[in-house]
Amino acid sequence: MSKPLQDHICESQLFERLYKRHSKNLHDFLYYKFGDHLNPQDQVQEAFIKLWQNCSKISPDKAKSYLFTTANNLMLNVIAHKKVVLKHHLEPQKTTTNETPEFVLQEKEYHIKLQNAISNLTEAQRVAFLMNRVEGKRFKEIAELLDISVKGVEKRIYGALKKLRKEIDGI
């Protein structure tokens, strides 16, 4: 086994690189998992501060899992599992539209349905599915972030899709 070059991350440059690599993914992970009512941004910062405080004990290759675990625990400390409802940010409405009011209404209904369906996914499904669909991450990337197998990610995402289709389109 080769020894890692460094056994700690107490250098600010190294720390900054870690921040740039992981902070957005961590933020998205927290958002998709817990929603935004617990302020994922703050928890990201919190997790990184914890990482810095313990920097002497953590090697660079352990940093990612440390961050995700810490942030996850920070969240769990605060909430007693509330149901997560993600807001659908409607694209800015065009002021004039040539769509019929009926169509607009349908669209709205569709969004609401979708929102409910997503809320009904399991946490694991939702995180993997939205990272894939919204953030455009490939299975492999998600597997790395969540420390699970690619097959596991595929299962979660496809399971989520099936669930959504069933609730929305009835198949």
């Binding site: 720390f15 935004d36 409607l90 979708l114 929305i168």
Partner: protein, 298 residues
């Protein structure tokens, strides 16, 4: 390729052109793309890495935070060590003190094998740790020293200091009574800033503010080592004091001039015999009631 495989590949953004075509032909292609488009609306709020790092940075205390990590336990260890060290230094600098009570004698071995015979009602203290550099004892009372050869050896009393190299000598320091007798070797006595050297057999006595002439002593050891106190032309009051040291009694005198000189000795084993040997030569008598003794004229 079946439908499920295609959809999974589509989810993983992994369709080649051929599969793309096949995917488009799926009956639920429209539904899937519609949902996909709509899902984009659930995008997580924008997270600006640069900006949030800038806000985080001031909260990251420089490496100090990590250096303080070891400083704290180190300080604790240092405190414990300091306390232990000061306790050790304090206790090791404490003098060893030996006391004898009335009618008790004690033999003390000093760190260099010098021995001290401590007479009754006396105290001796010395520092065991600095003994190698400083052979020094403090004496209050009477003691006979057999000093091993070596560096200077000091006996400090409130009346004066006795300095020797390797010898046998007796020091008696009681109230207004200071007597040093040399039995072997050479003894220096410093008293009132004057130093007198004693040869074997010589005695230095400073009693009641008077310096007494050196007198020849023939004994090899002081008599008190053999259970007898002897005096040569010593005022009665000092003899009485010595009786009080050797026997646990109180002595009152009635109508007697205690500055009369006494020459003789008394035993430490028999109070009556001792009192007789002091009173008869001086034409005195005594009466005894319990622990108190009254001396009076015959």
């Amino acid at each position: 390729m079946n439908r499920e495989e295609l959809i999974k590949k589509w989810l993983d953004n992994n369709l080649n052109t051929e599969e793309q075509k096949a995917f488009k032909l799926l009956e639920d292609y429209n539904n899937l793309t519609k949902m996909d488009a709509s899902l984009k609306g659930f995008k997580a709020p924008k997270f600006s890495v640069e900006k949030s790092y800038r806000t985080l940075k001031p909260q990251l205390k420089p490496e100090q935070s990590s250096s303080k990590k070891w400083l704290k336990p180190l300080l604790r260890i240092a405190a414990v060590v300091a306390i232990a060290l000061s306790v050790y230094i304090y206790t090791s600098n404490l003098d060893t003190e030996i006391n004898t009570f009335v009618a008790e004698q004690n033999t003390i071995a000093l760190p260099d094998n010098s021995t001290v015979e401590l007479n009754a009602n006396s105290s001796l203290s010395f520092n065991e740790n600095s003994w190698a550099d400083n052979r020094e004892v403090k004496l209050n009372g009477e003691a006979f020293f057999k000093v091993a050869k070596g560096q200077q050896f000091d006996v400090i009393t409130s009346s004066g200091t006795v300095t020797v190299l390797g010898t046998q000598f007796n020091v008696k320091e009681r109230e207004s009574y200071f007597e040093v007798t040399c039995y072997e070797g050479l003894v220096g006595v410093t008293h009132n800033n004057k130093t007198i050297t004693l040869k074997p057999g010589q005695t230095f006595a400073f009693i009641d503010g008077k310096l007494l002439a050196n007198e020849k002593e023939n004994a090899v050891q002081p008599n008190w080592l053999h259970g007898e106190s002897s005096f040569k032309s010593v005022a009665l009051k000092h003899v009485i004091t010595e009786i009080k040291n050797q026997y646990n009694v109180s002595i009152n005198v009635e109508d007697i001039d205690t500055s009369r000189l006494f020459t003789g000795s008394f035993t430490h084993n028999n109070l009556d015999l001792a009192l007789k040997s002091v009173t008869i030569p001086l034409n005195l008598s005594y009466s005894k009631s319990g622990q108190s003794i009254l001396l009076k004229r015959e």
